[in-house]
C-alpha cells in the first residue's frame, strides 16, 4: 500500500462557496482494482468488539465535552426528506441551520458564528433552501438518483443529478444500486458510481451505500472501496429509510476503508453516517471513533458529516446543561 502521494499537500483553501471549512483536493478516483477489493476482509465479531468497548475507552468531560458537541453541530447535515416537505418546512430548517443553537448560548461558549455543515433536502426543495441559506456559506445537499431505492431508469437518475446541480445543490447524495453489491457485480457498481460522479461536475458527491441492505460488513467494505475508486468525495451509510441505518460497526468498516484508500492514493475521502444517531453521547462516540481510526484531520466538516435530524435537539439540551448545571427541556430550544 505504498503508492506515491502526489497531490495531497493539503493547500487548504476556502471553497468557492466561501464556506467556513477548508477543502482537500478532490478524490479523482482510480482504475478499478479488483485485487485490492477482493483482498478486503472484515471480521464481524472483532469489529463489534472494538465498537462495543470504544465508549468505555474514550470519554470527554466538561469544557471538552462542550467543544466536542459544538464540533458535532458544525458537522450536521440538517435533513428533511419527507413526502410532506413544503417550502415553509424547508425554510424553517434552514433557519435552524443558520442558528443551530440559541445565540446567547453560542456567545457564552465562545463560538458565536457556529452553523451546521449543510442542509439536506430532496430535489424539489433545493431552490428554496439555496435562497434561505444565501450568504451563510452553508451548502445545500440534495439526495438524488431515485432516492432512496435507486431503481428508476439510469438516464433519469443521471439527469436528476444534473438538474439538482443546476438548481444550486453543491453536494449530491446518490444511492448506489444495492443489487450490484449483492450479486458481486463490482464492475457495474464502479461504472455506475463513475457516471454519477461525472454528472455531479463540481458538486461534491456522497455515495450512499444503504449498508443495512448489503448483507455483510465485508460487502460494506468492498462497496466502500469501489465507490472511492470511482471518485466518491464522501461515502455515506444510509438513506435513513432502511430498517437499519448508521451503526458503529458499519462506520468502523467504512472509515477503515477510507484509511486504506488514503494510504494507497493519498486522497482523503469523507464519511457521513446517517440515520439513527440522535443522542449527544452517540455523537461523541462517533467523533472519538473518527479521531482514533482516521485522525484529527477528519474532524472537520469537509471530511465528516452527521446525517441527522433529531441529534441537534439533544446536543442543545446538553450544552445548556453544561452552562447552567441544570438538565434542560426540549421546549426551551427552537425546533428546526
Amino acid at each position: 500500500m505504498q503508492t506515491e502521494v502526489t497531490s495531497n499537500t493539503s493547500e487548504l483553501q476556502a471553497s468557492a462557496a466561501g464556506l467556513p471549512q477548508l477543502h482537500e483536493p478532490r478524490n479523482p478516483g482510480t482504475d478499478l482494482d479488483l485485487d485490492r477489493v477482493m483482498a478486503v476482509q472484515v471480521n464481524t465479531s472483532a469489529v463489534e468488539r472494538r465498537c462495543a468497548t470504544l465508549p468505555g475507552r474514550r470519554s470527554v468531560k466538561k469544557d471538552h465535552q462542550a467543544a466536542w458537541l459544538l464540533k458535532a453541530v458544525s458537522m450536521i447535515d440538517l435533513t428533511t426528506l419527507s413526502g410532506d416537505d413544503t417550502e415553509g418546512r424547508v425554510r424553517r430548517l434552514c433557519a435552524k441551520a443558520r442558528q443551530p443553537v440559541a445565540k446567547d448560548t453560542l456567545n457564552e461558549l465562545g463560538l458565536p458564528d457556529l452553523k451546521t455543515g449543510a442542509v439536506c433536502v430532496y430535489h424539489d426543495m433545493i431552490e428554496t433552501a439555496v435562497k434561505a441559506l444565501h450568504g451563510t456559506g452553508i451548502p445545500v445537499a440534495a439526495v438524488s438518483t431515485g432516492f432512496p431505492a435507486g431503481l428508476s431508469p439510469v438516464h433519469l437518475r443521471v439527469a436528476e443529478i444534473e438538474e439538482s446541480v443546476k438548481a444550486g445543490a453543491e453536494e449530491i447524495d446518490i444511492v448506489i444500486s444495492r443489487r450490484h453489491v449483492l450479486t458481486q457485480n463490482w464492475q457495474a457498481l464502479y461504472d455506475e458510481m463513475k457516471e454519477f460522479r461525472r454528472a455531479c461536475g463540481d458538486a461534491h458527491v456522497k455515495a450512499i451505500l444503504a449498508t443495512g441492505e448489503l448483507g455483510s460488513l465485508r460487502n460494506v467494505a468492498r462497496a466502500s472501496m469501489i465507490c472511492m475508486m470511482a471518485g466518491a468525495d464522501f461515502i455515506k451509510t444510509s438513506t435513513g429509510k432502511e430498517s437499519v441505518n448508521a451503526t458503529l460497526p458499519v462506520s468502523l468498516v467504512m472509515i477503515r476503508a477510507i484509511r486504506d484508500y488514503h494510504e494507497w492514493t493519498g486522497y482523503r475521502v469523507g464519511y457521513k453516517p446517517a440515520g439513527g444517531i440522535s443522542k449527544a453521547k452517540d455523537a461523541i462516540t462517533y467523533l472519538a471513533l473518527i479521531k482514533e481510526e482516521l485522525g484529527d484531520r477528519w474532524l472537520q466538516p469537509d471530511l465528516f458529516r452527521f446525517g441527522a435530524s433529531s441529534l441537534l435537539g439533544d446536543i442543545e439540551r446538553q450544552l445548556e446543561h453544561h452552562l447552567t448545571g441544570r438538565y434542560s427541556a426540549a421546549n426551551r430550544h427552537a425546533i428546526g
Binding site: Q41, N43, S45, A46, S59, K62, H64, L217
Partner: protein, 782 residues
C-alpha cells in the same frame, strides 16, 4: 484552554474517575490493616507499605504474615471446614450468591481501589476485572447449588492454601475462592504484596455475605508468608498463580506431601496472523493482547507471528495504531495504558529491552509518558528470530516481539517452539484453517479472531511450563475435590527371593523390553532373575537403565503426534483387537500370573484386563469435550486432548491389570506411553508386548521397560520430553517423582503409598489424567 480552542484541537482532556470513596475507606481503616482470620481482622502488625504505582503515593500499611499468623489462619480454616462441607449445597450457593451481589453493589469502589493499588486503567478494572469477579461468584453459586447431584462421589479436599499474583488481584482471588467454597473447602489466601487492598475489602464483603468464620482467611505478606502457607502440614491443596520460577519451587516444596496442586504460571503466547485475516481487526486485537494491563498478563499475546507476505503492511498499521495509544493516569477514563505495578517490575522490563532489544527493530509508541510513576511505553520489536532472548523469555510488560512465517505448518512450528503453553490467538477468515490450527497449538486456551476472552464457564490454564490444572468450568471445580472413598495403604511388594530350583525344563525364553515397536535388549546388558514364591526360577527380565528410558521416550515422541491425530474409532478398533488377542491367550497369561504370585487369581486378572481393554476401547470415541455457553456470540469448545508422552510406574499388586488399565487408558486418549512393568512381577508385561505386536498397535505408542522403579522413575521424572508421570508403584517414589517433575512441570499422578482398587470399573480417573482440556473460543457472525 477555551472551548473555542478545544473546538480547534479536538483534544480529549482529562476524565478522572473520582476516588473519594476509596480514600474514605482507607482512612476509615487508618490506612493500616491486619490479617483476616477466623472472620475478624487481626490487629495490624509490622509489615510493609502499599503504594500507588501511578504516582508513588502511600496507600496503606500492611501486616507481614508470620508463620504463626499462617498457622492460626490454617487452624481457623481447619476448624470451619467440616461444618462448611456439611452445609447443604443450597446454603453455600446462597452465600456465594450474596458475595456476587455484594461485589456488584461495591463495584465502583472495588474498581477504583484496584486501579489505585495496581496501576491498571480504570476502564479495565471497571469493565473487565470486577464484572468477571461477580460473574465467577454467580457461576460458582450455581456450582454449589448443583454439587450434590452433579458431583456425586466427590468431596471437598479440606483446607486450601492459595497464593495469587498482583496483575489481576481481585479476579485471581475470585478464581481461587469461588470454586473452593462451592465444594465445601475453606481457604487461606495470600494476596500479592503489591496489591492486597481489594482482598482486604473482599474480607469485609465476606462478613456481609454471611461467610462463616474461618471459611475465608486472608493473610498478607511476601514470599515467605506464601511459603509458610504452601508448606503448612495441615493444608490439603495448594493453588498458585504466578511466575514459572515460583511455581517450580512450590512443586518442589509440596512434593510427596500428598497436597493437591494446581499451578497457573507464565506464558509467551503466540498471536498468529494469516494473510487472509481482517488485518485492521488483528491489529486492534493486539491492543487487547499485549497492551491490556500493560502486558502484565500471563496469557498476553506477546509473540506476534505474521505471515511473511503481509508482514510489512501489518507492522506499519500496528506502529500507527501504537502511536494512538494513550498512556497516563490509570484513574483517567480516557487512558489505554496505565502504570507498571512497581518500580522493580519496571526496571526488569527496561533492562530486558535495553539488553536484548537490539537483536531486532525496536519501535516505541510516540506517546507522552507522564512525569513520575512507573510507566513504560508500548513497544514493538520486529525482526527477531526464534533464538532471540526476547522471543523466548516472558517479559511481562507492554512489549510485543514479532517474527514471520511462511506456511500454516511453519506457524504451528514457531508457535510451539517454546517451553510455555498457556494461550494462543489465531487470526484468519478461513474457518478450515482456524479449526485446523487451533488443535495443533500447545496451549490451554486458543482464541480465534479474538484475544483475552475469559469466562467462568470456560476453564483457563496451561500446558507445559505454563502449569497444570484449570480454573473455571467443571474441570476447575473438580480440582477442588477428591474421590469420596476411603484410602488404604499399599504395602511394598518385593520380588521373591532367589531359590535354587532350576526351571530349565523348557527352551529358554528371553523376555526383552519393548521399545518403538521392537523387542529390545537392555542397553546395560544386565538381567534380573524372577523367582516364584516357592523358589522356582520363572525367567529373566532386562534391567532397564537411563538409556532404555531415553530410547523409549524418543520412540514415544515419534509416535505421539500421529497417534494423537487418529480417530477415536480407529483407536477403539485397535484396543478391541488387543483385547481379542489377549483373550485368546488367557490361559497362558493366567498361568504366568499364578506362577509369579503363587495364587490362583490369574484367570480373574486376565479377564479383568480384557474387560479394561474393552472399557478403554469404549471410551476412545466417547470421552467427549463440551461446547460451553460463554457470554459472546460464539462458542467455547472444550476439547479433550492427549497429554502427550506419559511415563508410568506400574503397580505390583495387579501386574497385568494395572499395566493394561494404565496403558490402554492413555492409548484410548491418543497418548504414547513408556510403561515400567511391575518390578516384582514383570513377566506378564513382557508377555503382553507379544499381544501388542500382533494387534496393529503402531510402533512407539506403547513402550515397556523392566527394572528397578526407583532408578527408572528418576529418569522418567527428570526427562524434559515426558509430559506426565503416573506412579502406582509399591516402591516409595512418589515424593521423588513430584520433586523431579518440577524440571518441566510435567503432570504427576502418584499414589503416595496408597492402594487402588484395580477392579473398580470406572476408568474416568485415568482418562482425566490422560487428557488436557483445551478451550477454543470461536466468536462468529457475518
Amino acid at each position: 484552554m477555551t472551548i473555542a480552542e478545544i473546538f480547534k484541537t479536538m483534544d480529549y482532556g482529562a476524565a478522572p474517575e473520582g476516588n473519594k470513596e476509596a480514600l474514605t475507606w482507607l482512612e476509615a481503616n487508618n490506612r493500616s490493616f491486619g490479617h483476616f482470620i477466623n472472620g475478624t481482622f487481626t490487629k495490624a502488625s509490622a509489615g510493609f507499605k502499599s503504594h500507588n504505582p501511578a504516582n508513588g503515593t502511600f496507600l496503606a500499611d500492611l501486616s507481614k504474615g508470620s508463620a504463626d499468623d499462617v498457622d492460626s489462619a490454617v487452624k481457623a480454616a481447619r476448624k470451619a471446614q467440616a461444618s462448611w462441607a456439611k452445609t447443604s449445597g443450597h446454603a453455600r450457593a446462597k452465600v456465594l450468591y450474596a458475595i456476587a451481589r455484594l461485589v456488584q453493589k461495591h463495584a465502583r469502589i472495588l474498581a477504583v481501589l484496584e486501579t489505585m493499588d495496581n496501576g491498571k486503567p480504570i476502564r479495565e478494572s471497571r469493565d473487565i476485572d470486577i464484572p468477571l469477579v461477580a460473574r465467577h461468584f454467580y457461576y460458582h453459586a450455581g456450582m454449589a447449588q448443583l454439587a450434590e447431584t452433579e458431583m456425586q462421589g466427590r468431596e471437598a479436599l479440606g483446607v486450601c492454601g492459595q497464593v495469587i499474583p498482583w496483575n489481576f488481584p481481585l479476579l485471581m482471588l475470585a478464581w481461587k475462592v469461588a470454586p473452593a467454597l462451592a465444594m465445601g473447602n475453606t481457604v487461606v489466601l495470600k494476596p500479592a504484596e503489591y496489591t492486597s487492598l481489594t482482598a482486604l475489602f473482599f474480607a469485609e464483603i465476606c462478613q456481609q455475605a454471611g461467610v462463616p468464620a474461618g471459611v475465608v482467611n486472608i493473610v498478607t505478606g511476601h514470599g515467605a508468608t506464601g511459603e509458610a502457607i504452601v508448606t503448612h502440614t495441615d493444608v490439603n491443596k495448594v493453588a498458585f498463580t504466578g511466575s514459572t520460577a515460583v511455581g517450580r519451587r512450590i512443586r518442589e516444596l509440596t512434593a510427596g506431601s500428598g497436597k493437591a496442586l494446581t499451578l497457573e504460571l507464565g506464558g509467551k503466547s503466540p498471536y498468529i496472523v494469516f494473510d487472509d485475516a481482517d488485518i485492521d481487526s488483528a491489529v486492534e486485537g493486539l491492543v487487547d493482547a499485549i497492551w491490556f494491563n500493560q502486558g502484565q498478563v500471563c496469557c498476553a499475546g506477546s509473540r506476534l507471528l505474521v505471515q511473511e507476505g503481509i508482514a510489512e503492511v501489518f507492522y506499519a498499521k500496528l506502529r500507527a495504531r501504537m502511536d494512538k495509544l494513550r498512556i497516563g493516569d490509570p484513574l483517567d477514563k480516557c487512558i489505554d495504558v496505565g502504570a507498571i505495578v512497581d518500580q522493580r517490575q519496571l526496571d526488569r522490563i527496561t533492562s530486558l529491552v535495553d539488553t536484548h532489544g537490539s537483536e531486532g527493530d525496536v519501535h516505541q509508541a510516540k506517546c507522552d509518558l507522564p512525569e513520575g510513576g512507573c510507566y513504560y511505553p508500548p513497544t514493538l520489536i520486529t525482526g527477531l528470530h526464534a533464538a532471540a532472548t526476547l522471543m523466548q523469555e516472558e517479559i511481562f510488560g507492554p512489549v510485543l516481539v514479532g517474527t514471520t512465517f511462511r506456511t500454516p505448518a511453519e506457524a504451528v512450528e514457531v508457535a510451539n517452539n517454546t517451553r510455555y503453553g498457556l494461550a494462543a490467538s489465531v487470526w484468519t477468515e478461513n474457518v478450515n484453517l482456524a479449526l485446523d490450527i487451533a488443535p495443533k497449538l500447545k496451549a490451554g486456551v486458543v482464541w480465534t479472531n479474538a484475544t483475552n476472552l475469559f469466562d467462568a464457564a470456560a476453564g483457563f490454564g496451561g500446558v507445559r511450563e505454563s502449569g497444570f490444572g484449570r480454573e473455571g468450568g467443571w474441570e476447575g471445580l473438580a480440582a477442588y475435590t477428591k474421590p469420596a472413598t476411603a484410602v488404604k495403604k499399599l504395602a511394598p511388594i518385593a520380588p521373591y527371593a532367589p531359590g535354587t530350583a532350576n526351571a530349565a525344563d523348557t527352551i529358554d525364553r528371553t523376555a526383552k523390553m519393548y521399545i518403538g515397536g521392537k523387542q529390545a535388549r537392555p542397553d546395560a546388558g544386565q538381567s534380573q532373575a524372577i523367582w516364584s514364591p516357592k523358589g522356582k526360577l520363572l525367567g529373566h527380565v532386562g534391567i532397564g537403565s537411563r538409556k532404555d528410558i531415553r530410547n523409549a521416550v524418543e520412540a514415544a515422541a515419534k509416535a505421539r503426534s500421529t497417534w494423537g491425530k487418529t480417530s477415536g474409532h480407529l483407536r477403539a478398533q485397535i484396543l478391541y483387537y488387543v483385547g481379542e488377542n489377549l483373550s485368546a491367550r488367557a490361559d497362558e497369561f493366567a498361568a504366568r500370573l499364578d506362577a509369579m504370585s503363587g495364587k490362583k487369581t490369574g484367570a480373574a486378572e486376565v479377564e479383568a484386563s480384557v474387560s479394561a481393554l474393552f472399557t478403554a476401547a469404549a471410551w476412545a470415541d466417547k470421552y467427549d469435550g463440551q461446547a460451553h455457553g460463554v457470554p459472546i456470540r460464539g462458542v467455547a469448545l472444550a476439547m479433550k486432548e492427549a497429554v502427550g508422552t506419559i511415563g508410568m510406574l506400574c503397580t505390583d499388586d495387579a501386574p497385568l491389570l494395572g499395566l493394561v488399565t494404565s496403558v490402554t487408558a492413555a492409548m484410548a486418549m491418543g497418548n504414547a506411553s513408556v510403561a515400567v512393568a511391575s518390578h516384582a512381577f514383570p513377566l506378564a508385561a513382557t508377555d503382553f508386548y507379544q499381544v501388542l505386536e500382533t494387534s496393529d498397535v503402531p510402533a512407539g505408542v506403547v513402550n515397556i521397560i523392566t527394572g528397578d522403579h526407583a532408578e527408572l522413575a528418576k529418569t522418567l521424572a527428570d526427562h524434559l520430553d515426558v509430559d506426565a508421570v503416573w506412579s502406582f508403584s509399591s516402591s516409595d517414589i512418589s515424593a521423588d517423582i513430584e520433586a523431579r517433575s518440577a524440571g518441566n512441570l510435567k503432570r504427576t499422578w502418584v499414589n503416595n503409598g496408597q492402594a487402588r482398587d484395580w477392579n473398580a470399573p470406572d476408568m474416568r480417573p485415568f482418562l482425566e489424567a490422560a487428557t488436557e482440556v483445551k478451550n477454543i473460543w470461536i466468536p462468529y457472525g457475518e
